[in-house]
Every structure is written in C-alpha cells, then in structure tokens.
C-alpha cells in the first residue's frame, strides 16, 4: 500500500517517535565530581587512621575489611525493611489518598485528618508507637501468629509513609486539569471509569518522582530501627567499633556506613530529578 505524501502539515504520516533520551545515563547517576569529593574524604580519614595505628595491632584497613561484609549485610537489612515498609505504605496510602478525593464529605474529612496527623508526627515517635503498642503475637481463630520486632518496625515506618503517599496521590489527582474531568463527563464516563481510565493513568506519571523521593527518605529513616533494638547497619557498625575499641577507627567506620547509604540514595535522588524534568508540565 502506498502511503500518501502531502505538504499539508496536518496530514503528514504519523510516526511514533522514540521517547527522547533522558539524562538518566550512568554519567548523571554517578555524577563523578560529588562522588570523588566524598570518596576522598573517606580515603583521607582512612589514611589518618592508618597512620595512627598503634604498634603491634592490626592496621585500620585490615579491620575495616574484616567488618565491611557484616556492615554491608546490615545495610542490606535496612534496604529490605525499606522495601517492605514502602510496599505496605503505598497500598495503605493509596487507599487513604483516594479517600481524600472522595465525593462523600465525611470520608474526605477523615482521610484528611489521618493524613495530616501522621504526616506531622515524627517518624521515630510513630516507630516507638508501633513497637510498644502492637502485641507481639496475634490469636486468630486458634492460631497464634507471632509478630516479630522487625514486622512491627515495618508497620511503624509504613505509618508516615502511608500519610505521605496519601498526599502524593491527592496532589497527583488534583494536578490533572479539571477539563479532563469535564470532557470525561461529556463522554458519559462514570466517576469510577473517569478515575481509573483517564485521571489516574495521567496522574501516576507525575506521582513517580515524589514517590521515589519518599522512598529515599524512608531508606534513610530505616536506621532509626537501631534505636528500638533491631540489628541494622548502624547497630552492626556500633558493635564493630565496640569490639575493636580503637578510637582512630571511629570516623572511617561511620563514614563507610554513610558512604553505603549515599551510594544507594544518591542515584535515586538523581533519577528523581531527571524524571521530574522529563514529566514537567509546560506552562
């Protein structure tokens, strides 16, 4: 079949363009300069510790390498907790967020109050709340479900996450121009269809950057579980420092943990910025 060729701009054959390459490249993600500056800080502190090694003891690098795998494991535990809390928080937060734009006034107000309350309470206090006030086991129909500390921590962290997601959902839905609602109504879509087929698909794109941002904040907040006695990366680092009792290792050891988190959260922050630019609405 021969495609018609015309000079009229409106009738030019349509060709789907590939999505413009974003600045999500490796170069952006790693942003060599900042990484180099921070790695240099770490190297300098390590060299200083190396120089201060007491005679006849293991040098700083050896000790650091000995503990690094354990610290890394602890860090992976933080990441696992962050995945679980994010999943739970997203599910609950979505429900509250949708309730915030409900047509029923009472539902809207209750959802708003819940969101504001949990958004404005400190994360650590909410974590304490979950740790102390949740039972350590449930009895459901004769079965005893034990409820380990880490599961309570997941719930505690999911509370503020849910409240923040709720705001992200509300903001995303509200950011869709009202003309979309009106034209959907004109086309006889009901509210349910409008929401699921027209509003949410557009809004989701705009919710992704703040969602990722929240995830990075959550990952950093997971270290607070060490305060309530769960063995995470920070706990392991402290234990290592106590076991070795070498004051010159204090700075390099903490910097190692900081670097682990940085290496994980910084690319997320960069990607968030890149996506924000990409999805930015013009005008």
């Amino acid at each position: 079949m021969k495609t018609s060729v015309t000079d009229l701009p409106v009738l030019k054959p349509f060709r789907a363009k590939p999505i413009a390459p974003t600045r999500l490249g490796v170069r952006t993600l790693l942003s060599a300069g900042v990484f180099a500056a921070i790695a240099m800080l770490f190297a300098a502190s390590l060299a200083l510790a190396q120089a201060n090694t007491p005679a006849g003891r293991d040098d700083a690098l050896t000790i650091l390498l000995r503990w690094a795998p354990l610290i890394f494991q602890g860090f992976l535990f933080n990441v696992t907790i962050s995945f679980l809390s994010m999943a739970l928080g997203t599910v609950v937060g979505t429900l509250i967020g949708v309730a915030q734009v409900s047509l029923i006034g009472a539902v809207r107000k209750i959802a708003w109050a819940i969101t504001q309350f949990f958004r404005n309470a400190p994360w650590l206090v909410l974590l304490f709340y979950a740790m102390f006030l949740l039972p350590f086991e449930f009895r459901v129909a004769g079965f005893t479900l034990t409820f380990p500390a880490w599961a309570k921590a997941v719930i505690g962290l999911a509370l503020p996450v849910a409240a923040n997601i709720s705001e992200i959902i509300r903001g995303g839905i509200k950011s869709i121009p009202s003309a979309q609602w009106e034209s959907a109504e004109a086309l006889a879509f009901n509210r349910h269809q409008t929401m699921w087929m027209i509003i949410l698909p557009q809004a989701v794109k705009r919710m992704i950057p703040p969602w990722m941002n929240l995830y990075a904040i959550l990952t950093m907040a997971t270290t607070t579980i060490s305060i309530v006695g769960i063995q995470d990366g920070l706990t392991v680092t402290r234990a290592a420092l106590i076991a070795e009792s070498r004051p010159e290792l204090l700075i390099p050891m903490y910097l190692l943990l900081l670097l682990l988190f940085f290496a994980y959260c910084y690319p997320i922050a960069r990607a968030t910025l890149a996506l924000e630019r990409r999805y930015h609405l013009k005008g």
């Binding site: 500056a37 921070i38 404005n120 309470a121 400190p122 909410l126 305060i227 204090l250 988190f261 910084y266």
Partner: protein, 246 residues
C-alpha cells in the same frame, strides 16, 4: 482542677496521665518540651545561616568551592540523619579532647545537646542551600540586570535585591524543611539528649503508662508542628508584596 480530674481518671479508669498531676513527671516533661523547642529554634536559625552561606559559595567563581558546596549538600541530603548524628556525637565528639568539670571529672567539650544542634543544623542547612538556590534562580533576571546597571556590587545586589525576593519565593519550601527539622529533633534521643521523646520514655518506663504517654507525645508534636506552620503562614502573609502573586 485539671490535676484532680486526671488523678480521678487514673483511679477510676486506670488511664494514667501522670504528667498532668504528678509534679515530678510534669517537670520532666516540660524540661523535655523546652529542650526540644530550644534545639529546634537554635537549629532553625543556624541552618538558615548555613543555607545563606552555602548558597553564597555555590555562586562562587572557583570550581573547587562550588564542588565542595555540592558535595556537602549531596552528602547530607542522601545519608541518614541518624548516622550523621552518630558520626558527630560518637566519632567526632569522641575524638575531641575533654575538659575538667571542676569536680575531678572530665566532660566533653560539647554536650549531647550541642552535638544534636550541630548535626541537625548541618542536615537542614544542606536542604536550605538547595531551597535558597531554587529561590534565587526564580528571581527575574531583569531585576538583577537592572540592579547591575545601577552599579550595585555583588554583595549589595544580593542583600538588597536578590535575597528579599528569593526569600519570599522559597518560604513554602522552607516551611516544609523547618517542619521536618522539628520532627528530626527526636533523633537526639539516640544520643541521650533529654528532649521530649527522651523525657517521655523516662516517664513511661517508671510509671508504666506507655499508651498514655505515646498518645500525649504524638499530640504534643503535632501541636508543635501546627504552631510552627501557623507562625510561618503568618510570616508568609506579612511578607507578601502586592503585585507579586507569591
């Protein structure tokens, strides 16, 4: 009268708000509340100052200086505040020399409260640098050009034109960050600073009224944040320039 009510509530229902009738618990709670407010206010002011200094250096001609500011901002934004606090208190604080306290003992140069203020200010300051930078970028370039053509020096240009305008643009974002700072003060619990959370945990471990103290704690923090939001909101309105839609 309030004390009598809460005492009766405890006797009749077992709902123990000891803070409202027990002199000792109330004193501890109020001290904690004051410590939280004190840390918040000092950190807010210090972080604003840091943000201003940071944004000034971020506009420097030297690439090294710019890179250092960026490294500071990115490091503090992308690492856990609790680890930052531990780093300052245990690592940096642990290595600093101690001074004699006059009773034969040795005390660290900086107390836990002081380290909390240092760590929180650096943490919030990193965000403030970015917020101020965004605000400065949003100042219309014509304003800056006009000032330059009137012979303003860079310092005067910043002090009299850019900062007053940029400040109004970034107030909402600043608002968020400062609220976040107040919430982050709870982390000082981890280094034993007697702030609100710490005081509450002392009370509930002695009086065994975890549920009541937890709820009271949550309400208190939400109220604290509400007060801050209200003050910032008033300030935002007071600083509004007619003709600018901000």
């Amino acid at each position: 009268m309030i004390a009598a009510f809460f005492e009766r509530l405890n006797d009749a229902q077992g709902i123990n708000f000891s803070v409202f009738y027990d002199e000792f618990d109330r004193a501890r709670f109020l001290t904690g509340l004051w410590t939280t407010i004190y840390i918040s206010i000092v950190s807010i002011l210090a972080s604003l100052l840091l943000g201003l200094i940071g944004v000034w250096f971020a506009g420097s001609r030297s690439r090294i200086v710019r890179l250092l500011v960026r490294a500071y901002v990115q490091l503090f934004r992308n690492t856990p505040p609790l680890v930052q606090l531990s780093f300052f208190y245990f690592a940096v604080g642990g290595l600093l020399p101690t001074i004699s306290d006059g009773h034969g003992g040795q005390t660290p140069i900086l107390s836990g409260t002081a380290w909390a203020i240092v760590a929180l200010s650096l943490f919030a300051g990193a965000f403030n640098v970015e917020i101020f930078r965004a605000g400065i970028e949003a100042v219309p370039s014509t304003m800056i050009e006009a000032a330059e053509s009137l012979g303003y020096t860079r310092l005067r240009l910043y002090r009299e034109i850019v900062i007053p305008l940029a400040f109004r643009i970034c107030l909402p974002a600043l608002n968020n960050n400062l609220v976040n700072l107040v919430k982050t003060t709870t982390l000082a619990y981890a280094i034993g600073v007697p702030e609100l959370l710490y005081a509450a945990s002392q009370i509930w471990s002695e009086t065994l009224n975890i549920r009541e103290m937890m709820n009271l704690l949550l309400v208190t923090y939400v109220l604290l944040v509400a007060v801050l939001v209200w003050i910032m909101g008033r300030w935002e309105r007071a600083m509004r320039i007619p003709g600018y839609s901000w």
